[in-house]
């Protein structure tokens, strides 16, 4: 009898071990850390309802940027470290919409209507480059992204915009570093059908928009072309052997990713209330990559589920750890934690042997 009990205990611990191995040590640390932060938040009597509301908002506002990682990861190009390209396209779209004087919902929709094709076009061109550097997409993408941000900084500093809300108040050429969206489409999604339950502000429109985006991407990934992309990502030689044009599907991946990035930054900005220009997009790709990896993705395999879970966990961690860190230790620490977690999880993913690697 005792024997049997011990056996069962073994079975359970084996299973737990298997789950732990599946998650990986870094993710376990992150979960433990999140748990500790939540406990600390209760102990310090932080306003749980406000925190929950914040989590929901930040979840919705970052979600699409994280979704943008899926197409490139699934098609085998790895996480899109060149995401700043898509993001700057979104920023250009938003500034154009402001320049043309659109406000409210129209402003938001016009921004999206410009952002999506612009991001797509840029992503296509970027894909042409990446097709030439197969196998080195991550390094090239990282520095390509950085270059675009500094090149676009020159653009922001010189572009002949006229709108007084965007140029420096004392004149001169160039745009401000942050542009307020107060008169344009600030929180247009967040406030749509928003309600308050138990003290929690639920940004209904934002969440609906995000989930709609998830659903559309999910449908796409289930379609013939989506499955072709996954096939290319799983095994290039298999894809070639059934007549798929590998380069075309990789182009589709980078196009879709940058288009989502462009749309994603507009959703982000409407929630945040400001457009951040110049160096702001520099590290955004890393946080998106970190998020999806925390959700369980690996370098060449990512699903909608990974993106949703990862964004939620990562944003929860940030929202909860910020006040805890500020109360307990010092300021700035939350940003430091963000950097450590993001890059730690990316390093972990890089050091893991890819399951598809034996194909080459």
């Amino acid at each position: 009898m005792a024997e049997q009990v011990r056996m069962e205990g073994n079975g359970l611990s084996e299973r737990l071990k298997a789950i732990a191995a599946d998650l990986g040590v870094p993710r376990l640390i992150i979960f433990a850390f999140l748990g500790a932060m939540v406990v600390a938040a209760f102990l310090l009597e932080l306003p749980i309802d406000t925190l929950t509301g914040n989590i929901l908002t930040r979840f919705g506002m970052n979600g699409i940027l994280v979704l943008a990682m899926i197409p490139t990861m699934q098609v085998g190009m790895g996480p899109n470290f060149g995401l700043p390209l898509g993001i700057t396209c979104g920023l250009v779209a938003a500034t154009l919409s402001i320049e043309f004087g659109f406000t409210g919902l129209a402003g938001f929709l016009v921004s999206l209507a410009i952002a999506f094709p612009l991001g797509g076009a840029a992503g296509y061109a970027y894909g042409l480059l990446l097709n030439k550097v197969r196998g080195e997409e991550m390094t090239v993408g990282t520095y390509f992204g950085f270059s675009i941000v500094s090149l676009m900084s020159i653009f922001w500093a010189m572009a002949p915009y006229r709108s007084p809300e965007m140029i420096w108040p004392y004149g001169g050429s160039g745009l401000r570093v942050t542009i307020t969206l107060q008169n344009h489409f600030d929180k247009i999604l967040d406030h749509f059908l928003a309600f308050n339950v138990m003290g929690i502000d639920v940004p209904t429109g934002l969440l609906l928009f995000f989930f709609a985006a998830c659903y559309l991407l999910w449908l796409f990934m289930r379609s013939r072309h989506g499955i072709a992309m996954t096939t290319v990502g799983n095994n290039i030689r298999f894809a070639e052997s059934i007549g798929l044009n590998v380069n075309r599907y990789r182009l589709l991946g980078s196009t879709l990713s940058c288009a989502l990035g462009a749309a994603g930054i507009i959703v982000y900005a409407q929630s945040y209330g400001f457009l951040q220009l110049y160096q702001a997009p520099l590290f955004m790709a890393f946080f998106a990559v970190g998020s999806i990896l925390i959700g369980g993705a690996s370098i060449n395999h990512a699903t909608i589920k990974h993106a949703v879970i990862g964004t939620f966990l990562f944003q929860s961690l940030l929202v909860v750890s910020l006040p805890v860190a500020n109360l307990v230790v010092s300021e700035n620490l939350s940003e430091v934690i963000r950097i450590i977690i993001t890059n730690g999880i990316i390093l972990y993913a890089l050091s893991r042997r890819e399951s598809g690697s034996e194909a080459r």
Binding site: S330, N332, L333, T342
Partner: protein, 362 residues
């Protein structure tokens, strides 16, 4: 057997202008950009020379530290940031102990080397786990390590380890200030011997250090270890079959690089006289990599000459571009962004070319 002895036409070492230009396209392009930039910046020549001399002295070491991993086939070692961090930790300690002058600097060096060896060893082990992805790993590692570094400087120092020095820690007593004054060791190396020509001061000992490093590098490449670096760099499998311990050789390459980078950062900081706690190390990797690439190196090939030429060109560009930008575009910011763009862009293009060539070879 006689008719067999004909060796196929080998490239004759004849002078060929076209090939010379093609092989050195990158440095030539940057020489032109620098010349134009200097012209439009309208800086007085002595000032320019003085600036370049200073910057050559303080940056060459860092750039040269990249060479060994390139030869060992590990690409551009973005992980030298960890070496810079080791140097900064050492400085924080020696400043705290109120050490001064050459003695203080020597203590800093002595303290840095073991720390850098440990950092390099860990980095090398990580690179062995991520074989073939060393560069992206190095990039991400530098960000990750920066996070840990900040955690230590912001919270561990003062928060965990008592650090009773008001001039160094924040008013709250936890975390280091944004800048740490290195006045006690300012120019400790540069000013041992300094030749002056009007505006231009030549830090002789610093250049001697760089020269010693160059000689040391040349020597190293002629040793058994140097031969192993080159063998592993060409083909790990073949080197392994021949019995070379590839993993160890690769780790040693990174250890060398990290230690040299740490020494380079010490030279850099003693010249600056001030340590920006949260910033001095951040761009070390990017700027050094950009410099060596501008000098004509690639991901798989680099020489000391390329490192020195690259340092010269990159820093000339650094000095002249804000002024040239202001004079040309009426906006000094543009020049500022331009030089950052050049740094990133050059790395991006070099990596892309490397991958492109690697693919067409297959």
């Amino acid at each position: 057997m006689e008719q067999k002895a004909k060796i196929p036409e080998m490239a004759q070492p004849s002078f060929n202008l076209g090939r010379l230009l093609k092989n050195n396209a990158v440095p030539i392009l940057f020489i032109i950009i620098c010349a134009l930039g200097s012209y439009y910046a309208r800086l007085p020549l002595p000032f320019l020379i003085a600036e370049i001399t200073t910057r050559m002295a303080r940056n060459s070491f860092l750039v040269i530290s990249l060479i060994i991993p390139i030869i060992a086939g590990m690409g551009l070692n973005f992980g030298i940031v960890l070496g810079a961090m080791a140097a900064q930790f050492a400085f924080i300690a020696t400043v705290f102990w109120q050490m001064q002058g050459v003695a203080g600097l020597t203590a800093t060096v002595a303290l840095t080397i073991p720390v850098a060896i440990v950092f390099g060893w860990l980095t090398g082990m990580l690179f062995n786990r991520t074989r073939g992805k060393e560069m992206i790993t190095g990039i991400i590692l530098s960000f990750f390590a920066n996070g840990l570094y900040q955690l230590i400087c912001l919270w561990v120092i003062g928060g965990v380890i008592p650090f009773p020095d008001e001039s160094m820690v924040l008013p709250s007593g936890v975390g280091l200030r944004n800048t740490i004054n290195l006045k006690a060791m300012h120019y400790a190396l540069d000013n041992i011997v300094k030749w002056r020509y009007g505006m231009i001061g030549v830090p002789v000992m610093t250049f001697v250090a760089v020269a010693l490093l160059c000689v040391g590098m040349i020597y190293l490449l002629k040793t058994k270890l140097g031969q192993d670096f080159r063998a592993v760099g060409q083909n790990q499998q073949i080197a392994g079959v021949a019995g070379i311990n590839i993993d160890k050789v690769r780790i040693l390459a990174i250890v060398f690089s990290t230690v040299l980078a740490a020494l380079g950062q010490i030279i850099f900081l003693q010249n600056l006289g001030i340590l920006t706690t949260y910033g001095s190390h951040v761009q070390v990797g990017t700027f050094a990599v950009a410099a060596i690439l501008i000098g004509g190196a690639s991901v798989s090939k680099a020489t000391i000459g390329q490192a020195l030429l690259g340092t010269f060109l990159f820093h000339t560009l650094f000095i002249v571009s804000p002024l040239a930008g202001k004079n040309l575009m009426g906006n000094p910011q543009v020049g500022e962004f331009f030089r950052v763009f050049v740094a990133y862009g050059v790395i991006g293009v070099a990596l892309a070319l490397h991958a492109w060539r690697g693919r067409s070879k297959k």
